[in-house]
């Protein structure tokens, strides 16, 4: 069996695992900024460096494969000093470190690490990097690159997870700028507005434009786990509510079907829930040919009457129901039960499948 020692503890591992992966299992809590477990290790932020006995320089644990008998120390004073310096450097290139958590799933990573390593020192002042793309007025993704730290998580998630290859990087060095082809708007390229770049961004530079509308609403952000109803994949989501309103959707990173992925509909298409045009009471068409507000009893009586009439005249297969992808799963369940048990027919479907 292959083993290594991490912070004095023996750990067994499978050949091919990185030091970081094993250390995570051992709860070493190594800091990272460019790491996303779903993506290929990249080795940009260097925060995950650790000491490996017999190796002169610190080793980036996210890219280094473990070897049998390795002795690793994840948080020596020297290593922690490098981490603090790196975080001071990163903080120095941005407009600000603290951002609204509604910006995205990972948006607090930088602020939390800066606090953890006491790096709010204001050292290393100088020019800022990255420039916000203010002209891109798409309704979904705010491109606030003033806060970008060039970790390339957005570029990589777009290529490796979504397969869109919509995001790339212009120039090099400190002039590096996350962009799309010819520096246009997201919609000019191959972006499908899935929002995965937003949710992996560790600084909130890419932000959920819909969610941040609720920044000023009172109260804490509450979350509820559910499954996206839009199609049959079954992506797990955490609905975010604030001030009694649905304000945003987060993909569940542990969702078995989606592992943090969503599409534009699951991620951004929830405005109908609180839309002013949404019916708050039933409408019934009266003899004048117009729709009029009615009580539930009246509306249900009318609907039941119509269904029964159709069945009596044309038989049980004359009824067909299509459930809405915007309705909750419970409603979809009720519809199929209603049609199957109530009418004894299988003519039922859901718009997400059609």
């Amino acid at each position: 069996m292959t083993t290594l020692t991490i912070d004095g503890q023996q750990q067994s591992f499978t050949p091919g695992e990185t030091i970081y992966e094993i250390a995570e299992r051992a709860h070493a809590d190594i800091p990272t900024l460019c790491y996303d477990p779903r993506l290929k290790a990249f080795g940009a932020c260097r925060l995950c460096v650790v000491e490996v006995e017999g190796v002169r320089n610190p080793v980036a644990s996210c890219t280094a494969k473990a070897t049998d008998g390795m002795v690793v120390r994840t948080a020596t004073p020297t290593i922690d000093k490098h981490r603090k310096t790196l975080l001071e450097l990163v903080a120095s290139e941005n407009r600000e470190v603290d951002v609204d958590p509604l910006r995205g799933y990972a948006s607090q990573e930088l602020a939390m690490l800066v606090d953890r390593y006491d790096a709010r020192t204001g050292r290393f002042r100088g020019k800022a990097s990255g420039k916000s793309q203010e002209t891109d007025q798409n309704p979904f993704i705010l491109r606030d690159y003033d806060l970008c730290i060039s970790c390339y998580r957005c570029v990589r998630v777009c290529a490796e997870q979504e397969g869109d290859h919509a995001i790339s990087v212009r120039n090099r060095g400190f002039e590096t700028q996350i962009t799309v082809e010819f520096d246009g708007d997201l919609k000019s390229g191959t972006c499908t507005f899935c929002g995965q770049c937003v949710q992996t961004c560790p600084t909130g530079a890419l932000a959920d434009r819909k969610a941040i509308r609720a920044t000023e609403l009172p109260g804490p952000i509450e979350k509820a786990r559910t499954v996206c109803p839009y199609c049959g994949v079954g992506c797990s989501v955490d609905l975010q509510a604030k001030g009694g309103k649905l304000v945003g959707v987060l993909p569940a990173m542990d969702g078995p079907a989606n592992e943090g992925a969503l599409c534009i509909k699951g991620q951004f298409a929830f405005d109908f829930v609180q839309h002013p045009d949404r019916l708050a009471s039933p409408l019934v068409r009266r003899e004048d040919g117009e729709l009029h507000p009615a009580s539930w009893d009246e509306a249900l009586d009318r609907a039941a009457g119509g269904f029964m009439k159709a069945r009596d005249m044309h038989g049980r297969h004359s009824v067909y129901a299509v459930a809405s992808g915007r309705a909750p799963h419970e409603a979809a369940y009720a519809v199929q039960k209603f049609i199957r048990v109530g009418f004894m027919t299988n003519q039922v479907d859901n718009c997400s499948r059609a």
Binding site: G43, T85, R170, G173
Partner: protein, 553 residues
């Protein structure tokens, strides 16, 4: 609108090995720049994501996206050229659309101006002249040379003048792969690009690594300021380099080779292509070389202006058409190189050393060094020195001997105040450091390294903070932007050396500069970020009073 010619070029190149750079150059040569429309067609033709292609094109300093593009002059503002008035020349040529470029490897005869595919050199617009790379001066002490041994012979760039590929013939006819590798290993030849990895060990690793086809890459992306030794070898002794590649291929079982040539050496390209054609015509390259089962082809690929592409991982990514970031190591190129197959990446000088070693034997080469040191090293000497140029020194030669006896010291009887090592990457040596001998152990003991062998000389009148700023600005310009310590660190150090940002008190300034440098050295992902802080480290060590003056000003 579809340009049929663009399609023709795409169709010509897309099935060639490592097509992207060549295709982009063909289009860049045709139009002078790479338009949106052309990039769209290339992306479609190569089935590459357009966003990635756009990003990668912007990475390279010499790919223009708009007119006048390639036809506008580019003036070298490298550290040596700035000592010679590059800023004034640039201002003079601004009327023609001139822009600055990083060191372009003509430090022995500044200042180069690159226009299209022509390089002119001169210190002002009136004196600009297109002239070939100067030959190295004859070794002043009359000692025996290895790579410069025949370079001054008339007609050397032609196969006949070179005398045929005797070493390859001998290897193919009389020796096994293992025997060739044993000779190279016994000679002590080590990577002359500066990493000093034993060449025989590298070749053996590729020989033993599973996977085909295997590849030999000649790293001719000589981007380190103050280094111009590979240019003289490629221009005047191309057959030595190509024969060295063929020996490496024979020793390792490789069947294809690339010369990755830096963009700033446009005149070298036809020289190499002519030499390859000559060798192919007589069966020294191609299928079944010299009637054996050994087949090997060499392709020249031209870079597009990125110092980092001299780093082997970046170079390989660049060849493969990927974004030229360095690769995480391990795995190393010997097992996962070009297209993830076993690959030798060797410097020009390393490869050019192989034929004389195979011809004359390992003992002969070892004996060229002084004391226990094996072999020789090319040194490119420039800056405030009476006789700048390339010198082949026995490893272990005292630095002072080279500076004073061989190269005549600083002009005008001035004292030498400092020299750089490894081009710029080794930082400065000054004062007591001048007692070093030119070998890695001696120079590493001073916190520096010999590297690719560029030495820039500063005389007593030079402001070392200004010099350090020029150097750091280069590293900031060339940082690829992948790893945080280098991307941000080179910028912050440049700002502090320029006096644009940072604390005013010496203690705070020093604390910031030292902390940034320490973390860069320890945590950067490649040699650029690890080496850059040697500049500030050596500045603070050798010239603290100049730093204090800089902060006081």
């Amino acid at each position: 609108m579809t340009s049929p010619r663009t399609q023709e070029l795409i169709e010509h190149w897309r099935d060639q090995p490592a097509p992207l750079l060549s295709l982009l150059h063909a289009l860049h040569d045709r139009d002078g720049f790479l338009s949106d429309g052309v990039l769209r067609e290339v992306a479609r033709g190569l089935r590459a994501p357009l966003a990635d292609l756009y990003g990668t094109v912007t990475f390279y300093h010499h790919f223009a996206r708009f007119p006048p593009g390639k036809s506008a002059p580019r003036v070298c503002t490298g550290p040596v050229c700035r000592l010679r008035g590059a800023d004034a020349l640039l201002d003079e040529l601004r009327k023609d659309g001139a822009t600055p470029m990083a060191c372009s490897g003509r430090c022995d005869e500044p200042i180069p101006v690159l226009t299209g595919d022509e390089v002119h050199v001169g210190v002002d617009s009136a004196s600009l002249v297109n002239r070939p790379t100067p030959l190295p001066a004859v070794r002043p002490d009359g000692g025996e040379e290895c790579v410069f041994g025949g370079i001054r012979d008339a007609g050397r760039a032609k196969l006949a003048g070179y005398g045929g590929w005797a070493a390859l013939e001998r290897a193919v006819r009389e020796q096994s792969s293992e025997q060739v590798i044993a000779t190279i290993t016994d000679s002590g030849l080590a990577g002359r690009g500066g990493a000093c990895f034993l060449t025989g060990t590298k070749w053996n690793a590729v020989l033993e690594a599973p996977g085909e086809p295997k590849t030999i890459v000649c790293n001719a992306d000589e981007g380190e300021p103050g280094c111009f030794k590979d240019r003289v070898l490629l221009d005047h002794d191309p057959h030595a380099v190509l024969e060295g590649m063929a020996l490496a291929a024979y020793a390792t079982g490789a069947t294809q080779g690339f010369v990755y040539l830096r963009y700033e050496y446009p005149q070298t390209m036809p020289i190499l292509e002519a030499a390859i054609a000559e060798a192919e015509a007589v069966g020294l390259l191609g299928e079944r070389i010299l009637g054996s089962d050994f087949s090997f082809r060499i392709h020249v690929r031209r870079g597009a202006g990125a110092y980092i592409c001299g780093e082997e991982g970046s170079l390989l990514n660049s060849l493969e058409g990927k974004h030229p970031f360095p690769r995480n190591r391990p795995p190393f190129p010997v097992t996962h190189g070009y297209n993830d197959k076993p690959t030798v990446v060797n410097n020009v000088e390393t490869l050019a050393s192989a034929p004389p070693i195979v011809r004359n034997g390992a003992e002969w080469y070892r004996g060229l060094g002084l004391g226990d040191h094996a072999g020789t090293k090319l040194i490119s000497l420039s800056g405030d020195i009476a006789r700048p140029g390339n010198y082949e020194v026995p490893i272990g030669l005292p630095l002072r001997t080279l500076l004073d006896d061989w190269a005549g010291g600083a002009p005008g009887g001035k004292a030498i105040k400092a020299v750089t090592m490894a081009g710029l990457s080794g930082g400065f040596l000054a004062g007591d450091d001048f007692a070093v001998t030119l070998d890695e152990p001696s120079i590493r003991a001073r916190g520096s390294f010999l590297g690719a062998g560029g030495i820039i000389v500063y005389d007593e009148t030079r402001d070392m903070v200004v010099a350090a700023h020029d150097v750091m600005k280069f590293f900031a310009h060339e940082s690829c932007g992948k790893c945080f310590p280098c991307r941000i660190g080179t910028q912050r150090l440049t700002e502090r050396l320029a006096g644009e940002a940072g604390p005013a008190s010496l203690a705070d300034w020093q604390s910031e500069v030292v902390d940034i440098g320490t973390t860069m050295k320890a945590t950067s992902a490649c040699g650029l970020g690890m080496a850059a802080p040697l500049v500030t480290e050596s500045l603070l060590r050798c010239f603290p009073e100049e730093v204090e003056k800089h902060l006081g000003a």
